[in-house]
Amino acid sequence: MHELGITQNIVAIVSERAGSRRVTRVTIVIGKLSAVCPQSIRFCFDVVSRGTLLEGAALEIEEIDGTGECRTCGTHITLEHLYGHCPCGSHDLIRLTGEELLVKEMVTA
């Protein structure tokens, strides 16, 4: 359940930037290969934000698809998992997207 700690980080980052302003919306970016479950973040956010400037804020989660490039033949492919294989048969892939874990922006009142 590392999502609890991750959500604490989200709330800390936004609180620091908010100063004394109330936050009405937070947008985060989670790659689909990042091992972080958006549903768990959403659950934790309600609990962790309680009593902070983020209490009651809407949480937007943008999910990024996994993509990779084959080191052998250079083909770009979509990745459903952290591993995959290229049509050429190689498993040796460079992951290009899907591992993002970012606080993107906030809306303050």
Partner: protein, 263 residues
């Protein structure tokens, strides 16, 4: 995906019915039509502030601080990760017994509760601090910084960090180590690398432990290594038994080679 709240049927747990052999794709929201779903949003005017900051920035910065500190003291720090019961502590005990005469070692033990593992390490003859994470399922960089402050490892030594037994969460948290070492025992399934790919992907070394038990098991070593290299094609693998000592010279050779980097 709902563009207002970002809720989505993907990225969360999925349920697959093997009788129909089709991913059910069930998810808790009912999207009746585009842009409409089971809850309302209040659209408020406000000031949008761009942040664009990695969520794990704080941990990553503290990990870099640890890494710099280790480098300055010529210390090889290794982060040992596995599921519970794979034999991390037994491997450490044996490593301490075999190397302590020639390599200065110290240990940071991570467990949710108890001092049991730290007591085992102390009996093996090595300085040790125990970090109890309580509800936490993994060690983080600040815990290691505090552990190191208590441990005061000597220069030109090896610090072995035994993470909480968990093949998921510790993968995400850099502690400032030279490498993560994933330990898999042959009493587990050979498909663990595919079930927990993040850990195997982040590892710099895999140790396959308890190989003395192979004659009694149906564990397929070749299949396990194929799975591990599907996730991490460059992953070196050592096959050992921490109980009988088989293969441990290769592990000690790997540690000594690592120490050369920090001379």
């Amino acid at each position: 995906m709902c563009t207002t709240c970002g809720c989505s049927g993907t990225g969360g747990p999925t349920v697959t019915n093997l009788n129909t052999a089709k991913p059910a794709g069930d998810h808790v929201h009912q999207h009746h039509e585009s842009g409409s779903h089971g809850h309302k949003h209040e659209h408020q005017a406000g000031t949008t502030v761009s942040i664009e900051q990695a969520i794990l920035t704080k941990n990553d910065r503290l990990a870099e601080r640890n890494r710099g500190w280790f480098l300055g003291k010529h210390i090889l720090a290794l982060n040992l990760v596995s599921s519970p019961g794979a034999g991390k502590t037994t491997l450490l005990e044996r490593t301490i017994q075999d190397l302590k005469a020639t390599v200065p070692l110290s240990v940071i033990e991570g467990d949710q509760e108890t001092l049991f593992d730290a007591e085992r390490i102390r009996k093996a003859g090595c300085p040790v601090v125990q970090i109890n994470t309580g509800a936490g399922c993994h060690l983080e960089a600040d815990m290691v910084a505090k552990g190191v402050e208590k441990l005061q490892p000597v220069s030109h030594s090896v610090v072995l960090i035994e993470n909480v037994g968990n093949l998921v969460c510790p993968a995400l948290f850099d502690l400032g180590e030279h490498a993560k070492i994933v330990i898999l025992s042959v009493t587990e399934g050979e498909d663990k690398p595919l079930k927990y790919p993040h850990m195997f992907q982040h590892a710099g070394l895999m140790i396959l432990n308890k190989i003395d038990l192979l004659p009694h098991l149906t564990f397929d070593v070749a299949k396990c290594l194929t799975f591990a290299r599907m996730v991490n094609p460059q992953l070196p693998v050592l096959q050992v038994s921490a109980t009988t000592g088989e293969g441990l010279q290769d592990w000690y050779g790997w540690v000594r080679a690592g120490m050369e980097h920090y001379k």
